[in-house]
């Protein structure tokens, strides 16, 4: 069942079309990812879904209600985590959380209890009394996410949740997102980290220049890049001695030998492993591992959009630097 349905959503900024008629739906309980470069329309879409921007045209249906007309009412069931931590510098972590809870009309005892719970859950209990400005970037991000879920929203909008923070904090945040989802929260996520989308999302939409260019489950999208099948064998050694014999025996396959221990076999059709294992046995070569190599979501993204990942990251970093200036 869909919690969010978006049809022909458009945003026109005085002649500049930031979002060009996007259609998508998000199933209740799933993690849906929006993946795209800087300026693709990810944040504008989130802003329209959450009520910070008015759509030029199109419809939004959230939890069975008109998401444009009734956005104020629907904000009660939304959690929103913007791409930059925007809590109050002078308030402590605890006070920031209780203040955010009060915006949803939560009573004092309930919001204080919930704030304590979240500080413990996000491993910030020891720093709850510290002012927000004294937090590290990773801690700020975690507290901003905690503020986004203080009122137990049905759907959580996360805009670039792990951008610009250290590896360990990013790992913890991904774990938190997974745990939230396990508890039933639907998550709408935007990211420019393809590995993050691959790891967290059940479905992904590629958005480029305001248009969704591909949408599907991670597996469905990966199928698109699966032009050929690849198997990698790891051996104890001795591959170089049988290099030519291997190539002439399996003439219908592309055989790539990497050093004395690794060989990659590629074929347009599915690969039967038995003849290869028999060949290695016949030549007294010990096989340690046979691994099916699948294409990454990154390869799919590059294939579909034509945008190289490194360009996307550079663009994003450049955008952040410009914002700071």
């Amino acid at each position: 069942m869909n919690i969010l349905e978006v049809k022909n959503l458009t945003k026109d900024f005085d002649g500049f079309m930031a979002v060009k008629g996007v259609d998508f739906s998000v199933k209740r309980g799933e993690v849906f990812g929006f993946l795209g470069p800087n300026g693709a329309g990810k944040t504008t879409t989130i802003n329209m879904l959450t009520g910070l921007a008015r759509p030029t045209s199109g419809t939004i249906n959230l939890a069975g209600e008109d998401g444009v007309k009734n956005v104020k009412k629907l904000q009660q069931i939304m959690g929103i985590v913007p791409d930059e931590s925007n809590l109050y510098d002078d308030l402590s972590g605890f006070d920031n959380l209780t203040f955010c809870a009060s915006l949803y009309g939560m009573e004092k005892t309930r919001r204080e209890k919930r704030a304590q719970e979240l500080l413990a859950q996000f491993r910030l209990a020891d720093t709850g009394k510290r002012p927000f400005k004294a937090y590290s970037k990773g801690m700020k991000r975690k507290l901003t996410i905690a503020a986004g879920i203080i009122h137990d929203p049905q759907i959580l909008f996360l805009d670039e949740p792990t951008t610009g923070i250290d590896v360990e904090s990013a790992r913890q945040i991904r774990k938190l997102i997974q745990n939230l989802n396990k508890k039933g929260t639907t998550i709408f996520l935007t990211t420019h980290y393809i590995e993050e989308a691959e790891r967290l999302c059940s479905r992904v939409g590629f958005i480029v220049s305001g248009k969704i260019v591909r949408l599907g489950t991670v597996n469905e999208l990966m199928q698109e890049a699966q032009n050929e099948h690849t198997v990698q064998f790891s051996l104890a050694g001795g591959l170089l001695n049988v290099k030519e014999a291997l190539r002439s025996r399996f003439i219908d396959y592309t055989v790539s030998i990497d050093g004395d221990t690794t060989v990659k076999i590629q074929s347009p059709s599915p690969i039967n492993l038995i003849p290869f294992i028999k060949f290695f046995e016949d030549h007294n070569l010990m096989v340690y591992e046979a691994k099916i190599i699948r294409p990454s979501l990154e390869e799919v993204f590059v294939k579909v959009t034509g945008i190289e990942l490194k360009n996307m990251k550079q663009e994003k970093e450049g955008g952040r630097r410009r914002k700071k200036q």
Binding site: G51, L52, K72, L74, N86, L91, C100, S102, G105
Partner: protein, 244 residues
């Protein structure tokens, strides 16, 4: 009940993070105190002090409200923490009333400094303090909503300060705080009647020393009109510009 929780917590948060910070408390006391001292030292007699007290109190409210609100809202817009408020499930009117309540309270407190100071020097027993407090609150509301209007018109904190002064300094000279409006040149007089502080200061004069020349009910209606107008125009522009 829910609205009251939201209103109270936004007000308390602003009081803690902005208005009750030591620099603002000292500004709230020192600034009106300095104005008071400056005018009172210049005054030759107790009669003079009684005459200028409504002007000094109006000035303290005006300066205590406009820039504080304009700066705090512009600052929150810049840091994007204001987005957090816009994304809360509360009406924009309630949100803006909560955001302005702190400045209204702070401005009203500022007006008490010269009043307290004057009470040690002259006999103020003849003043009608109930209507005086009502006048101060009305001036604070109008000036705060003027600050709100300024915050909608600018995007940088320094612009908020500059733009506030653009409104405030002409008001000091044109609104009858220290020079009677009746004595202004005929060409400038209509401008004075376009400024809300003219009516606030006049209402305060009537309450404190009986020298106001406009009927109190006219002052009240005009200030109410200015407050409503500034609030509605500001929220209209917030909806148009900030929820883009």
């Amino acid at each position: 009940m829910k609205s009251s929780i939201v209103f109270w917590n936004i007000l308390m948060k602003d009081m803690r993070t902005y208005y009750l910070k030591p620099p603002n408390i000292s500004w709230g006391i020192i600034f009106p105190f300095a104005w008071t001292l400056m005018f009172f030292l210049k005054s030759k007699s107790a009669v003079d002090i009684s005459e200028i007290l409504p002007g000094v109190m109006s000035l303290a409210v005006l300066f205590g409200t406009t820039s504080m609100l304009a700066v705090t809202i512009t600052f929150e817009r810049r840091s994007r923490s204001f987005d957090r408020l816009l994304l809360a499930p509360i009406s924009l009117n309630l949100l803006m009333l909560a955001k302005t309540a702190g400045a209204i309270f702070f401005g009203t407190l500022n007006a008490l400094v010269p009043a307290l100071f004057a009470s040690f020097i002259i006999d103020l027993s003849g003043a009608n303090w109930v209507t005086a407090l009502f006048s101060v609150i009305l001036i604070a509301v109008t000036s705060t909503f003027l600050g709100l209007f300024i915050s909608v018109a600018v995007s940088e904190v320094f612009e908020a300060q500059t733009f506030s002064n653009f409104f405030r300094f002409p008001m000091v000279f044109l609104c009858g705080l220290f020079f009677p409006v009746q004595n202004l040149p005929a060409l400038i007089k209509p401008v004075a009647y376009l400024l809300p502080l003219t009516y606030g200061a006049d209402m305060l004069k009537t309450s404190l020393n009986g020298t106001g020349f406009i009927a109190p009910w006219i002052n009240f209606l005009v200030l109410l009109g200015f407050s409503l107008g500034l609030f509605l125009v500001s929220t209209h522009f917030i909806k148009k510009r900030w929820i883009y």
